[in-house]
């Protein structure tokens, strides 16, 4: 079984809101000191799903693909340290100014180029754009079925069996391979990297590709191929003032809180 996991480098989503800043003129996040770059958490869970499938099947070739800057090497190395076999880094100025459409095009082209891929895994969304578009987009471009919001993924007699999360429960969906699955947080904890794999990963070369390597033209990717324009990026105003309730006892505090909420017609 050949698995490709798409991963994205993002600014650490755990950064405190008090430190986070955007440059409104540049429409970009300000790289404030201490803001680390990390792999999007859902993508790490997608790697975990690939590793669990390898555990289940006994063997599987796992490749990582990322579109980003040279700095994405670090998160890709981390994925290799978790047990992925090889990695492809798509870096090209031609990709700049793209959107979900152009990202899906580039990743789909890379997956085609790798060839013979049975399963593509992505996070259910990246934890910076919070959009959840690219995964299904790749599936549409490749013409394979997509199953979203996976909590559990297994292979049963050559078909994929996915437990997918719904608002009020879950459903079991079967799909033929090749297919694409987007992974949700219910997958749970990600295994730690082993020392042996980390040492191996450090020495492992990455395959670096450009738009031309993927036979994509300038009109397909980057700003030229984008289907939308970012007009503004801003930090929303937080004008909430907290009213601290006073009371002698828990009972008095509880009564005051319920009164306040009733008076404000919240209850």
């Amino acid at each position: 079984m050949k698995i490709v996991v798409c991963v994205k480098e993002i600014p650490d989503p755990d950064i405190a809101a008090s430190v986070f800043q955007v440059d409104e003129a540049a429409r970009a996040v300000v790289p404030v000191p201490g803001l680390r770059s990390v792999a999007s958490p859902f993508d790490e869970q997608a790697i975990e799903v690939a590793l669990r499938l390898r555990d289940q099947l006994g063997s599987a070739a796992i490749s990582l693909v990322t579109l980003g800057d040279e700095t994405a090497k670090a998160i890709v190395k981390n994925g290799l340290a978790l047990g992925a076999d090889d990695a492809y880094l798509l870096v090209d100025e031609a990709f700049d100014g793209g959107d979900a459409t152009t990202t899906a095009r580039a990743l789909a082209a890379a997956i085609r180029k790798i060839g013979g891929v049975d399963l593509v895994l992505t996070g259910r969304q990246a934890a910076d754009d919070d959009a959840g578009i690219v995964g299904c987009g790749i599936a549409e471009i490749l013409g394979v079925p997509a199953v979203t919001f996976a909590m559990d993924v297994a292979v049963d007699g050559g078909a994929l069996v996915v437990e997918r999360s719904l608002g009020d429960g879950s459903e079991t969906v079967e799909a033929p391979l090749p297919a694409l699955v987007t992974v949700s947080h219910e997958v749970g904890k990600v295994r730690p990297a082993s020392l042996r794999e980390t040492m191996k990963a450090a020495r492992q070369p990455l395959t670096v590709g450009t738009a031309a390597d993927l036979e994509l033209t300038a009109g397909d990717v980057g700003a030229a191929g984008a289907r939308r324009t970012l007009e503004r990026l801003a930090v929303p105003k937080n004008d909430v003032r907290c009213e601290f309730l006073a009371g002698e006892s828990p009972e008095a505090l509880a009564a005051t809180l319920i009164e306040r909420l009733s008076a404000a017609r919240i209850l």
């Binding site: 986070f20 459409t101 919070d130 079967e174 809180l257 404000a264």
Partner: protein
């Protein structure tokens, strides 16, 4: 705004009726159509949805495309795609509007790619500027918001719940309800639903609950969540949890609210023993009113809270349950 705006609302249904978010999208689409002399189209897919189609017309759709076929129920993206795309191609809308629900988030990106349309998900504001649609949506876990426009004639947008005023029902209003034959070739459906487990109990659906009672590290263990369960029942709400509480196994991961969990925007979010880390706030910052209960008066959660109580939740929560239960008696 000058050109007539034609919008297509894709209606998600539950128990034979459109979900409330559909009324909100119709309200928005109706306003655009009235201001520009445009039109509101809606489509509803599945069996036994005649009443839903009539309701869509009564709430402002000028034309309802009703596609009845047993192959379209229950929802599956593979099954719905050909028909939704066919209606969209026939209507040629400026905006295809889909609710930002687990179903809508599953469907919308594929519609966009099949129509080669620009797409924005989880939009909470929308406007027309110089004849162009601009939508605003939270990103970076709610720490920022972006406004985007589209370069394609049709845009696909998923709309967050409770951000727009719902269209009122007007019993006397009759739009055209058109029965459209399905274009689905059943052989093109590659996925198959083997079965589902739905929890119909009150508070099961965290994302659509009006009241969410969420617990964090301050709950000190699974027993604390038992207590929150009782408070949620007394309030008629759902229980949520922080990542810490889920990682420690005090609460199932499906209850996790935050960046790496679910996003909620209830009328009331009661954060109990939650410090308010950025990763948690990402999932609840759009709640209408946040109430925080925490022993630490300096906890970041109070920066987002309208009401704060500095107290030990293990004493306060039972007292809250007592007040609510005595009121109900």
């Amino acid at each position: 705004m000058s050109n007539p705006v034609r919008a297509l609302v894709v209606a998600e249904t539950s128990d034979g009726q459109p979900i409330p978010l559909v009324w909100e999208m119709l309200g928005l689409a109706r306003r655009w159509a009235d201001e520009t002399g445009g039109a509101v189209h809606a489509c509803v897919l599945g069996d036994g949805l005649d009443a839903a189609a009539v309701a869509l017309a009564a709430r402002g759709a000028d034309r309802v495309h009703r596609i009845a076929s047993p192959s379209l129920s229950p929802y599956q993206a593979d099954a719905w795609l050909p028909d939704v795309c066919a209606v969209a191609r026939a209507v040629g809308p400026a905006a295809v509007m889909i609710g930002h629900t687990p179903q809508g988030a599953d469907l919308a990106p594929r519609i966009a790619f099949r129509l080669d349309a620009g797409i924005a998900t989880a939009c909470n504001r929308a406007s027309w500027t110089a004849g162009r649609l601009e939508v605003t949506r939270p990103c970076y876990g709610g720490k920022a918001e972006e406004t985007v426009s589209f370069r394609t004639a049709t845009a696909v947008v998923t709309v967050k719940a409770k951000c727009f005023a719902p269209a009122p029902a007007q019993a006397a209003r009759h739009g055209d309800v058109v029965a459209v034959p399905t274009v689905l070739d059943a052989a093109s459906v590659r996925t198959r639903v083997r079965g589902s487990r739905r929890d119909a109990s009150a508070g099961a659906n965290l994302e659509s609950a009006n009241i969410v009672v969420a617990g964090g590290g301050g709950m000190k263990g699974p027993d604390g969540f038992g207590m929150l369960e009782r408070l949620a029942v007394a309030l008629g709400g759902a229980v949520g949890a922080s990542r810490v509480a889920c990682d420690l196994g005090w609460c199932p991961p499906g209850r996790q609210v935050g960046l790496s969990g679910k996003t909620v925007a209830p009328e009331l979010y009661l954060a109990v023993g939650i410090s308010g880390a950025g990763q948690h706030m990402a999932g609840c910052v759009n709640s209408k009113t946040i109430v925080a209960i925490n022993t630490d008066a300096a906890a970041p959660i109070f920066r987002y809270a309208r009401y704060g109580v500095v107290a030990d939740c293990h004493a306060l929560v039972p007292a809250l349950i007592e007040v609510l239960e005595s009121k109900a008696r």
